[in-house]
Structures are given as structure tokens and as C-alpha cells.
Symmetry: C2
Subunit: 158 residues, 2 copies
């Protein structure tokens, strides 16, 4: 039950700008056979609805020396301090995601480290002091797929 149903033009716009935030709106306009002003207005609407939430350049962590990607399940000694722990995690630049999940663990985070040794030191020196009873680490050797949700390939009704 989407809050807003995207029409074909919305989807084409989203497909183009979600793959390349720098594509000129006029180029999108030409590809869609509408005016530049129409694209401008559509994108403004999508942003005001919160469907489009901003843009970013993608930086390759490996290329800047962050060669280890890991997921860590955290089990807290004091689960009631959840919000506090989130605040601490937010201060750690290595932590890029934090989820509240099913599955018994209290939180599930994704982080980047320079190497396995650095990962270990992050877990021991920065995560343990947050009050962990234990943790479970999954290291990603390789991201075979990493991409945004492809809106254009999706049916609205099924």
C-alpha cells in the first residue's frame, strides 16, 4: 500500500536519476519527451513527498583503504540502553548501518574497517565497551551485488 502511486513518468525519472544524480534534468526531459520544467516540477514533488531523499556520490571504501566490510550482531547487557548505544555508534565513522531486528540479537550493524586486524580492534576497543554481552561477526569477502532498489522493474499491484 504505497502512500503515492508512481506513474510511468515518475518511474522513468527515478530510474534515470537513481543511477546518476548528475544527469542533466534537460536530458531526462528529452528522454521522456516532456519539457525540462515538467521534470523539475516532478522531482520537486517527489522530494517534497519524501520519495526522493537526496543524492550522493558513491565512494569505494576499498579504494581509500577500507578493505574489510562486516556485519555484526550485537547482544546488549542492558537492552534498555538501546538509544544510547545508537548514539555512540553514530559517532563511529566506520559504522554505516544500524538495524533493530528480529532474530534474538539486539542490533545488527554494518561497518567498514581497514583490514581484519582493524575490525578486531573496533569490536574489542569500541563496541565491547558499549555494554555487549556478546557479538557475532560476519565478514563480507566480496559484494557480488550492490545496487539501489530498482523501481522501474517493479509492479505496483500484485
Amino acid at each position: 500500500m504505497p502512500k503515492y502511486t508512481l506513474d510511468a513518468l515518475d518511474k522513468k525519472i527515478i530510474r534515470m536519476i537513481s543511477n546518476d544524480a548528475r544527469v542533466p534534468f534537460l536530458e531526462v526531459a528529452r528522454a521522456c519527451n516532456v519539457s525540462g520544467a515538467a521534470i523539475h516540477q516532478r522531482i520537486q514533488k517527489l522530494q517534497s513527498l519524501g520519495i526522493v531523499k537526496g543524492s550522493q556520490f558513491i565512494i569505494d571504501p576499498e579504494k581509500i583503504g577500507y578493505e574489510t566490510c562486516a556485519y555484526v550482531g550485537l547482544y546488549l547487557k542492558y537492552p534498555e540502553r538501546f538509544d544510547n548505544v545508537v548514539e555512540e555508534l553514530r559517532k563511529m565513522p566506520e559504522v554505516v548501518e544500524c538495524h533493530y531486528t528480529t532474530g534474538g540479537m539486539d542490533m545488527f550493524i554494518k561497518l567498514y574497517a581497514k583490514n581484519n586486524h582493524h575490525l578486531l580492534s573496533i569490536i574489542h576497543d569500541k563496541l565491547q565497551p558499549l555494554g555487549l554481552s556478546r557479538s557475532e561477526t560476519i565478514i563480507s569477502f566480496n559484494a557480488a551485488i550492490s545496487r539501489p532498489l530498482n523501481v522501474a522493474d517493479i509492479n505496483d499491484e500484485d
Copy 2:
């Protein structure tokens, strides 16, 4: 051991463009007290080195009806068919990440579904037929943190 050591200007550029791919390069230039052409050249170099890998607008999956985010660990009946399974996963728009990991499972994927029922049908009707011996699903109720790796806060040497 980064392949390329970023200087202060690179980091400032990356910090600005990784939060907003639409920021005018001239604005970056003014913030850095260099010419627009210098920013242009730096970003081209970062792209040719593969450090900057492109840009994207961020779409909120929830707002377009994808309200369930899940991680699924897959255990394959025939692990030698790994590459084949990756190709099949690539065809599923709901799958946004696929990792080859430690931890016993053969692959670890991230996907978006419309709701829990839809998630179940994806697992049963689309993932099981790929040849799973079993799977483990973690549902994310809430992403308390979701952001890019913050290059600017990072030390190159330690």
C-alpha cells in the same frame, strides 16, 4: 594501505559531494578557496581512479510500498553453482546486495519486500527454487543509522 592517499582538498571535496551529489562544483570551489576548474579536475581524477564510482539519488523504499527490509543467509544445496545463483539474484529487483561471507552460510543477501507476506513469497517462490538447503531471515524493523562511510573523519595512518 590505500592505493592513493587523499589530501585535505580531496577529503573536503568528497565530504561535500558524498552528502549531496547535486552541490554545484563552484560552491565546492568557493568553500575550498580554489577555482571551479580545479574541483572539476580533482573529481575527474577521483572518478578515473575508481575512488568515486558515480552518483545516485536516494529513493526511500518505504515510500514506494517496500516496507519490509530483510537480510537472508542462504545455504546452497550445490555451492558450486554460486555464480549461477548470483546471476539469478541479479534478475530479482528486490535483491539489493549479495555477499560472499564467513560464517557458514554460502551467501548473505539484503532485499526489500512490500510486506512480510510478500517477503515470505519471495523466499518460497523465488529463492527456494534456486537450490537452497535452508535459509535464515533477519527482518529489520528500523534502520536507526544508514549513511555512507565518512571519509572526512578518518585518519589515513594508524
